[in-house]
Symmetry: C2
Subunit: 228 residues, 2 copies
DNA sequence: CGCCGGATTGAACAAGTGTTTAAACTACTG
DNA sequence: CAGTAGTTTAAACACTTGTTCAATCCGGCG
């Protein structure tokens, strides 16, 4: 009998049993995925009997819900404090600075499933990104756009999508976005440099960009005409 | 007892039983995910006995492998024909034009798991994207870059990540990227327009972009100095 | 026809799932 | 000290999982 997951338990672990179970579940989801997160695996990782897991949360589904809620609350809490001290509202920063080590891994796993709690969190993040971009436009950092919400949504979908794809990114660029230590990694540049280049100046030449825009508006005009 | 999945079976279905089982499995994965794709669900969808599934593929894992391989081959085949007739090498186009209706949904599900077959496919797609971008630079469509591979990798990670996030995109923008009919949908613009705006001119103003670039190179220089 | 080999079936199997339950234990109160 | 309410446990439950297996079906060949 050996522990599969070594929870970073301090010499004297003063967390309640319920909290220990919740944390073990989060770590298990982050490491093995939701499908592989069973009552017995969580129980073993939290060092309790399987029955205790159900006793504290009622059912496995409620445990999952509790984990989603806890992670969502943790992210919202971080964003609030980040705004209060004036630093940027960056999701990757939230992942790095969280006291929940496996937050990135957990998000990467649950973003692909459809949980209403996670869906609500994503919606909120898009809303936050929109107001943040709005401010960036006002301070001259970001370009204005016809579709602020659409732009914010796509930026968030790309960011979170990259999080879900972290194993592929690790393989392609040597950089694991879910690793809390990754911010200090020299491989950070392998992701950040090209990403900021794309977000800074785009990938298309201005001449092609203009042509594409014309074709686009022509297409949507044709679409309107067809509708008549 | 009713069929959960209605395979688009022609009046006279001339596919072999093995092919029917494989197609049913792909559709089941696309709709319900890999964890929910069980022997009995596949058997029911393919209208065969559970034993037949194992008889033809040896095990459930080998069936999954066969599905991955089949999808990967189908995408590579499409790309080859697309290049041959000179049209663009666009992944979303491959999803739309494939004769496998649920290819997009299947990819969205398996990109989050770690399958060596899918990993190899992603690596190939990045490689293809790199040479495609290289040609776009030569023809004056795309800007040159210091890190062609990094740029291609990130563009692919963002695109595929958005595919995995398709349910969130559907909710946020009303556009489902996995739907084969989506290319004809008027909601296409809700995704394509802001996406092309970002890829065309970026999101940052030139002045901020310059400052960020300076900060970036200063940071990596400092990183080099610290290493000494 | 008689036969044979692959395809197909449905019943079994062991292992793993979430959940229930009764018993034991623990800590705190009257 | 006795009692009690909340924890915790291990064993059982019903169910689903992938897989095995003997029996049956079916098409082609001698």
């Amino acid at each position: 009998m050996f522990k599969l997951l070594n929870m970073s338990s301090t010499p004297t672990d003063d967390r309640t049993t319920k909290a220990r179970i919740r944390d073990a579940a989060i770590e298990c989801v982050a490491t093995y995925g939701v499908a592989a997160t069973t009552v017995r695996k969580v129980a073993e990782a939290a060092d309790v009997a399987p029955g205790s897991v159900i006793h504290h949360f009622g059912s496995m589904e409620e445990l999952r819900f509790a984990c989603d809620t806890y992670i969502a609350a943790s992210i919202r809490e971080y964003k609030r404090s980040a705004i209060a001290q004036g630093s940027g509202v960056d999701l990757t920063a939230a992942i790095q600075n969280s006291d929940i080590g496996s937050m990135g891994g957990y998000l990467a796993q649950v973003l692909a499933e459809d949980s209403p709690t996670v869906a609500k969190l994503v919606d909120d993040l898009v809303g936050d990104a929109e107001v943040y971009m709005e401010q960036a436009v006002e301070t001259g950092m970001a370009r204005p756009t016809d579709d602020p919400r659409g732009r914010a949504a796509i930026l968030m979908l790309w960011s979170l999508g990259a999080l879900v794809m972290h194993k592929h990114m690790q393989r392609l660029l040597g950089f694991d976005i879910t690793d809390p230590e990754s911010a200090a990694s020299p491989a950070l540049g392998a992701y950040a440099a090209p990403a900021y280049e794309i977000l800074g100046e785009g990938i298309f030449t201005p001449s092609f960009s203009d042509k594409a825009r014309e074709a686009f508006s022509a297409m949507s005009e044709k679409d309107r005409d067809d509708k008549k």
